[in-house]
Amino acid sequence: MPAAPGRPIGVQFDQVEKRYGAVYALRNLTLGIAAGECVAIAGRNGSGKTTLLRVAAQLVRPGTGTVAYSGASEVRRPKIGFVGHATMVYDELTAEENLLFFARLLGVASPGKHVAELLREVALEDRKDSLLRTFSRGMRQRVAIARALLASPSLLLFDEPGTGLDKESGAWLTEQLRRLRDSGCTILMSLHGESETARLATRAIRLETGSVVADTRRGALFQTIFSAPGC
């Protein structure tokens, strides 16, 4: 993949806690992710999956506890690719303008070339001059993923990336994740139920009310993590 991810890093959560008023989004969360792991995070709505990913992305500041990154020189401010619930791109700009904008902010070398290659990879080359607001959900997700890959990230975070995608786009997504995983990238993805995407993971974690209640690499238990009630 031309937008090759950077050297992967690991993430360490230590006693992380995040409250929103009376509600604990994350409670006493301790979790270590090694560089190169592909981890699926399962859990009901409100179990803390989104908050976990946003804390990992340094978008949300934990109330107590620390998040540390390991294995790269830019450890304090690692390059992170984040695909969240929202598309995180501008509706009033075109696909190309959006990616060029973020590429320039990130200080990507030869942004024009890089963006053109990325657009080809996500199969949106012919729609590069269309405004984002004319795109379908699937196409927007592709732009979002392109944006996440812009600066050769060391860590990739996906928050329920398959939501709202049709079968074709979903298959495309799984394929992209497979390629990223095989290139050794560290991936954390939150998922809603077992799926093709979930099966890419080498490790699965289940969150409940903000804490890790199950953590496994083994095949059979893997299935139970995803088939727990309400998942």
Partner: protein
């Protein structure tokens, strides 16, 4: 320097977005015009009265217009969580503020300069010889409004009743700008006009102080 180049890229995006739709500029300009016209009904618009009340009403119109114009500043970034994307992409979150302040100042200044001849015609005052002074006053005033307004827009975007909250918080904080810029503008419109440097100094000090405060505390305004 990364901060300035980031701010420049961000500014480019702000300006491009606005000139594509022009919705902000056009509504702001019309609003200033409406306020000026409506306020002019409250006093007898002879030449001497206009010189006395005109500048005050002009700056009030700018302030009210700004408090509406600044609303979308951070609301726009909430729509698709592009604020999150910006925070991930830039090293120093102050770049986001610098860019938005620059953009808002430019938009405000543009509005003011378009409105100036209209105001001059409606109230039979001339600025000809004092144009540099007027420009400086408008620049420093708009900068002050933008600096404080952008910071408060970040706050009100996270609260309820945000449409009412921004003007509510903005107007008392901007009292010094309103008071001083009105005085300076009155002197620029007198039969013997001159530029009141003390006022200019006060406005510059206001701008410098609040820009510094924003530099120190800006990142907390964007926190989640």
């Amino acid at each position: 320097m990364a901060l300035l180049s980031n701010a420049a890229v961000l500014l480019g995006k702000e300006v491009r977005t606005e000139f594509r739709s022009r919705e902000l500029l056009s509504t702001t300009m019309v609003f200033v015009l409406i306020v000026v016209v409506v306020f002019s009904f409250t006093f007898d618009p002879t030449s001497t009265e206009s010189r006395r009340f005109g500048p005050g009403l002009l700056w009030m119109a700018f302030l009210f217009a700004a408090s509406l114009m600044l609303q979308p500043c951070f609301l726009r970034e909430q729509v698709n969580d592009t604020l999150g994307a910006l925070r991930l992409a830039v090293e120093d979150p102050f770049a986001v503020f610098l860019a938005k302040i620059a953009a808002n100042t430019v938009f405000l200044l543009f509005t003011e300069l378009v409105m100036l001849p209209v105001f001059a015609a409606l109230f039979n005052v001339s600025f000809g010889s004092q144009l540099p002074g007027v420009l400086l006053t408008f620049l420093l005033g708009s900068l002050g409004i933008s600096i404080v307004g952008t910071a408060l827009a970040a706050i009100s975007a996270q609260a309820r009743m945000r449409e009412l909250l921004l003007p509510l918080l903005l107007l008392p904080l901007l009292t010094p700008i309103l008071v001083v810029s009105t005085e300076v503008t009155i002197r620029l419109m007198q039969p013997e006009p001159y530029l009141e440097w003390k006022g200019i100094g006060l406005m510059a000090a206001f701008d410098a102080v609040f820009l510094t405060v924003l530099w120190l505390f800006g990142e907390y305004l964007l926190e989640e």
